[in-house]
Symmetry: D3
Subunit: 272 residues, 6 copies
């Protein structure tokens, strides 16, 4: 027996002795990526590759998405029928996703003096990718599709450094500049015309645990009202409310409510 | 009509009703990526795949880059001729890009005790990728090439978490350690021998707006003089000047000038 | 001579005049990526593509890894023989890597109320990727394999924004939430049941230099004892010790020891 | 103007002056290839890659095939609706295609003493590929699908050197040994248990032309009855009938009827 | 030493002892394939993938072709300059290639009653591929480009079973039906409106040898005048002339001249 | 239930009712292709892509080939151990394969006046590919490896139209010109310095059947002695012997022995 064979033999024995877990036929990250790419080609036609007509793209979207939803619903005995309903509902909701995304594009353009035109925003700004993934994922999560939404937002996280939980609720005209390090938690509620900068965390302060010591999933992230701006690297934590038209400076650690129309800077808080 | 057909029909109607925008034959992100890869194989031969001779690589670079510049100049009636001039000028400037990049590599090596040798820096350090993209993009931007520079730096941003605007001006021997979350704004001016750590923002404090409410693109980011070090997660905002040989500690929020040879730490500022 | 030929001619002359460096037949980033993917398919079978049996995967791993180790040891005259030993030792250690990774998966699940089940953690959480890369890289580094470990952790850094030096020592049940911007330095020592949030830096405060001005590689990063939690965007710098069962709040800049069972928040430090 | 630009200019002018034809959005050879691969994975599961369940494969087949049929029916104003009918009919007919193909596999095995087992026939024998393409193409042609059947059989022709027109009618238990150079024309009628060897042509002798000089598409290829064998490189031309249980030797040129149970060799014809 | 290492060691020794030949940086078969694909997209726009405008395709063609010609002329000290001339000349000749190919397409359509329309001929008929490769290769060979023409026609041979030497001279309106097994030798001269069927050989009868025993390359293949048809599997060998408007039946072995307007069948030859 | 679902339902039922066969984890055609490509890069270094050193190529070959041999021996209870022996034996025999292939290359060059140099033969001549596949496959078959040899020669058949059974025995300096349609049967024995032209069949005349009606695998193909040439499209059938230094003309059907030094033409046979 060669050295290698002996090592392989030992390794197999030892690996088998470690309790692990084997994945089963399950949702495919690559297929979910294709789903989002197809949505992208529907919402921003001509920017990202596919040149076929809208009907063909929708049929492709249906084919890809239904396949993944069926896998995601593998434990649901009516999964096969439900997947068609969910898929059709999602397709009917695409126009609203498109409408929201164009408000985001508009907001980005209004915020950044370096922008030359709207094409540049769609082609270059990572936040557009992040919002496309988030708004698609959120729509699926609202319909009750498991697993897939989370995979979608992680794909955006890996690519842009922007980590938005698909459960968060985000209004119109949402902008993030630069974006790396932004975290938006599962139970956040964000109004319209909100702008964030890189490194902003809208997170939980601490968790409640149930009697068995498992963390409880209840509202634990901030509410950010309309027309709020939060500058870079600030963290807003817990179920606090940032009132409308407020401005939160950078590098802050905020764990209390902020009234509307307030400017919070390091060391002081003042009516705007 | 099946459920799906009905959904598709409704979706098409609704999508058409949303005002959107169709991209046209335009600069390709994938081709821009190839351009940067080719520059990389010219500057760091033997490290990244291509093994052909220098002349062949330059011809490939010309072919790829000219194609994209023509697309970027699609609204310029002399675009076809100008693209050749721009492309040739860029090629003549490659040696300067190479020279600058080797100063960066040197600076990285000088800063990090974990470095074993210069090959390791070129192969492994994300900042080398980021600077290759930035220095290439900046050279094109200076020549007047639109769109492409921004796509180049976004590619690096996605890959490294380092977001440098191609318009920024950066001197020799520039180093960034770790890098995730670094943001360097469009009108920054950075001297020689400057070192940044992860999460450093050199950003704008606020924008001026013109009479139509559009943000004005004027100098609004810091000037960082020679031999300055800025530690992790600090933000320097607005058109302030950090004097030469200064050291800015971590986690700071700085919106005023700092005189030369100054050490700024949390809560205090002192002559070095 | 056309404009292009003249530009190419000038460019070649100028490029040759810049002192640079040519890489040689060396470790391939793509092959290292395949090595990690193979380890992943061994540790988490069924989740990531490959469906072959364990023995076949181990043979593939041996083939890929040995090839890269030989290249990494190119300056070692016994490199050919040593590469087989190193490769076999690594394979024998795979079960321990697997065991540790399942403790990490468990810790992630225990920390995040948004988690539905363990499959979701393995499929979606970027920290699982980061730890897989790190634990694989660390095992190789401990065996004395050069270059490859660093390439592995940079691959994870690019993908997840989590930058763990392969030299760091990390105990069981390690969790990072969100993760973007986390930096863990080369000489860190981290105990069991430690949890970090996004943007946490465990870094060096400053370097010592030797007589020739080269930075000295000695212990310069924190020691974090068991059951410590560090919240988002805090930096712990230098060879300080965070005592067991301590909690470090967010956005802090910490350069001193913290006794066990202590809660450090902005502006105050208290016994938990 | 450089030499190249001048050449390109001249070339464009000259090319435009040549009357040509521009293809439109049309059936894709690559997609048709995928259709056949999917049929293959349904008929011979486990031999050729795809491992998903039958239902999933049929849904994929529907998606791919319907897309191509719609393109093929682009001039038919009811093409969209008809494509669904045609696709469903084809899917219902798959079991018959499968049944026929297994008779072919059986016939190949019975003919060749070099065969070890049925797996080898399915994996290695080019005639299996050719018949899979032909039987799939013929079923589509019978349903009235244009263009696609012909593309399918040309794909097999390119790969195997066996050129069967999709319009030919071929019975059960059909075998071709080696196969290179076999040609079976559009109006051939072939019975059961027929065997051909390489280079056999079942072709037309001459064409009729209509009043405008266009060749007329009428029965012009042979009828080959049950249990006939035709040896290598023989040509049977025109609307002749080869009677059942006949054997046609090699290298023959045959343009007349052959009665049942006849052996035709070079220079003589005899009752078997 | 394991069994494998010992085998590898022996094998290296033994392999080194066999006199062989090492290829050098040379013409790439894959790149030559790209050249032909580009010509195809110029001549038959819209049929085969590429959708860019004519100028862009010609620039791509120039880039690809010039690179290969330079490699093919590696032993020519003026190769670099000549490659540009040759490439430009070829580009200027593209319109003639296009014109000839459309005559071939027309001839194919006129010959085959199974043809539905001209699109089908361009998309499906292997002879169109074969003639595209041949006419492109012949144009390059006439210009004096070495090696590349032969690679081009071998690519077509592999794909279609039609083997045309690039040195052959072929007139307008040339058709081959089915095509597998057709061979057309280097010194053939073929007129206009000639039609061949599968398996036809236009070959050499025997070779002359020079004083050193090397075969002499002189005219040794047939001359086929205008309006000749040769049916399947016939061989015409040696420098014979088939007079215009003649018809050669199938399965014949012909080594003598045939006067114009003659019909040659098995066993007899008659004035048409 | 939609039309499609109903069709799928019916189709599944009907497909299940047809007796078929499911392939199991078995030899992969794509992997076998890689094995041959690796042998090619060892025998003709520098011609076909891979540039690594000989030892690395042999290790790759071992890895790929052993994996496939194990699968091929899946029913052999000692398959795992035997696969290593077989693989090592094959590797030790590579030098002989190389030696034989260079004799073939030499023979091709000596036969064709159109050849410019030996590089051209190796790069362009399909028979070189065919012989590489055959000689590799034959060596494996002689060692007792099942299935893989047949897959190898079918790969060459598909690509070149040359169909050589791996069981045939072929001497040195073997040449085939053009090659399409050549068939060489399983029990052929071919001497040295033999040349064939396109369309030549060395086949069986008829089969013996055993008592159960299965064809018997016994010597049934021709013996061709040294220095024989067979011209295009001739068939030699049955266990006949073509004596050394004989020449067989084209288009012949030969089923009897031919004495040495004989010239066989259509209609006559004469002492050379």
């Amino acid at each position: 027996m060669t050295q290698l064979e002996s090592s392989i033999y030992k390794s197999i024995e030892a690996l088998d002795a470690v309790d692990g877990m084997a994945g089963e036929a399950s949702v495919s990250v690559d297929k979910v990526k294709e789903v989002v790419e197809t949505v992208k080609s529907i919402v921003f036609p001509g920017f990202f590759g596919a040149t076929s007509d809208l009907r063909t793209k929708l049929e492709l979207l249906h084919f890809l998405l239904r396949g993944q939803i069926k896998l995601a619903l593998v434990d649901d005995e009516n999964g096969y029928e439900r997947s068609e309903d969910l898929c059709c509902s999602f397709i009917e909701g695409l126009a609203e996703i498109k409408r929201l995304l164009y408000t985001d594009v508009q907001a980005i353009q209004d915020n950044d003096p370096a922008v030359k035109n709207i094409s540049e925003v769609i082609s270059c700004y990572p936040v557009v990718q992040a919002m496309l993934h988030y708004r698609t994922a959120h729509a699926l999560l609202v319909l009750g599709v498991p697993v897939i939404p989370r995979i979608m937002t992680e794909l955006a996280h890996s690519r842009t450094g922007i980590d938005i939980h698909p459960g968060a609720r985000i209004g119109e005209y949402f902008a993030i500049d630069h974006g790396t390090g932004v975290v938006i938690g599962e139970t956040c509620i964000i109004g319209d015309h909100v702008t964030l900068y890189q490194g902003v965390t809208l997170g939980a302060k601490n968790f409640s645990y149930d009697q068995e010591g498992r963390p409880v999933n209840k509202p634990r992230h901030p509410i950010v009202e309309d027309h709020v701006t939060i500058y870079s690297n600030s963290s807003v934590l817990g179920r606090v409310t940032i009132g409308h038209h407020s401005v939160i400076g950078g590098n802050l650690w905020l764990t209390h409510d902020v009234p509307p129309c307030t400017k919070v800077l390091q060391g002081r808080e003042q009516k705007a």
